[in-house]
């Protein structure tokens, strides 16, 4: 399945992202959201609001620029001020990862648009592996909390998935010195399990296609009782779901996990760390 290229641009000045040509070529709707520390925020001179997770002394500020609104009023004072802030007052340059949901076939537009900057096309890395004789928790789609002696809870499954993807030992005895972790009970042993990891900057549209393909796995009867798809966001991203602010306390985790059962029931875990609001 094609998980699409993404692009890496080094030292791209911010003013390029508010250029009218950029917005009309690549942006259908969107905002530019900046998460800045106090000094940078004061130096840019832009209007923003304090971060929700800053603590008593506000050290982080969020600036949000509506790009569609901006590009429709190029003569406005607002555009002139933002342009001046990014070009002269505090020219900021960052390395960017760009991905573009193309409805046409031209991928070269992005490469040629940013040809003055060092733009490189990248493909997400795909790693496939097979695990044999895997102890696997027994699940019942209608029982999220699990049923003693009958099925495991969603929380136990979530931890077990982490153990599988980290290659942890799943069969430790309770008196083992190194680790006492074992697969949640009740469990069965699965002869073969397929694991696939895709790493990169991946568009939601691609993930939706992948999920649809996974659901079609059960179009014909299969031995497997369920399949799972887990998606993790970038730890340092300023936003998580929609435009919710994303913070990094001890960890910047924000992830979701679909479990699709053979009867088309599904479970969806949404997990965030301490620096985030409850997911939608």
């Amino acid at each position: 399945m094609d998980s699409g290229p993404y692009y890496f641009v080094k030292d791209l000045p911010l003013h390029e992202l508010i250029a009218h040509e950029f917005i009309s070529t690549f942006v259908k709707k969107g905002k530019l959201i900046l998460s800045l520390d106090k000094d940078t925020y004061e130096e840019t001179g832009l209007q923003g609001r304090p971060s929700q997770y800053s603590g008593r002394k506000t050290m982080k500020f969020i600036v949000s620029v509506d790009l569609m609104d901006l590009s429709s009023k190029l003569d406005s004072k607002k555009y002139k001020r933002i342009s001046w802030a990014f070009k002269e007052k505090k020219p900021l340059k960052f390395d960017f990862l760009l991905a573009w949901h193309q409805t046409g076939a031209e991928g070269s537009t992005m490469m040629s648009y940013f040809s003055n900057y060092r733009i490189q096309e990248r493909q997400p890395k795909i790693a496939l592996s097979t695990v044999t004789d895997l102890p696997c928790p027994v699940l019942r789609s209608g029982e999220l909390r699990g049923e003693p002696e009958a099925s495991c809870s969603a929380q136990e499954l979530f931890e077990w998935l982490g153990a599988v993807f980290s290659n942890a030992e799943l069969n430790n005895e309770p008196d083992n010195f190194i680790s006492t972790y074992c697969c949640p009970q009740p469990s069965t042993v699965v002869a073969k399990a397929y694991l696939c990891t895709i790493t990169g900057f991946i568009l939601p549209e691609k993930i939706r296609l992948l999920l649809e393909q996974l659901c079609r796995y059960f179009d014909e009867p299969k031995l497997a009782p369920w399949v799972a798809l887990s998606v993790q966001g970038f730890a340092d991203s300023p936003v998580s779901w929609r435009e919710n602010e994303h913070g990094f306390r001890t960890g910047g985790e924000h992830l979701y996990n679909f479990v699709v059962f053979s009867n088309r029931d599904y479970w969806l875990h949404l997990a965030v760390g301490a620096g985030d609001d409850c997911p939608p």
Partner: protein, 124 residues
């Protein structure tokens, strides 16, 4: 028989994790020093004991994965013991007379979050 109507249930948990998970890496000033999994665990227990005493040295601590070549591990600790473990790792300075330090790469209440680290994405 008519199909059952679609049902929907949403459960929200706050701080549900009994455990926290840490991805750590032990770095020595000089190279060529190896520890097996049991020695690594013993080192963690003695770090806890030095700072917090016998009782906290017996905190339920698991080494879920351990790589002897790189001296990196994923640890599982009960959530109430996270701060004690983390501070013990921070203050550990040597092993058998050799200078070393623990680097904490990732911490999360979710083990699945440790299977990927966006800060390790290599771009250059």
């Amino acid at each position: 028989m008519p199909a059952a109507a679609a049902a929907y249930e949403r459960i929200v948990y706050r701080n549900p994790s009994e455990h926290h998970y840490m991805k750590v890496h032990l770095e020595f000033q000089d190279h060529g020093i190896g520890l097996n999994a049991a020695q690594f665990k013993q080192l963690l227990i003695s770090a806890l004991k030095d700072l917090f005493g016998e009782v906290d040295a017996a905190l339920p601590l698991d080494i879920l994965t351990y790589e002897e070549k790189t001296l990196s591990a994923i640890l599982r600790i009960c959530s109430s013991g996270l701060v004690k473990l983390w501070s013990s790792l921070t203050l550990l300075g040597s092993y058998k007379g050799k200078k070393c330090a623990f680097r904490v790469i990732q911490v999360s209440p979710f083990l699945l979050a440790l299977s990927g680290n966006s800060r390790e994405l290599v771009l250059n």
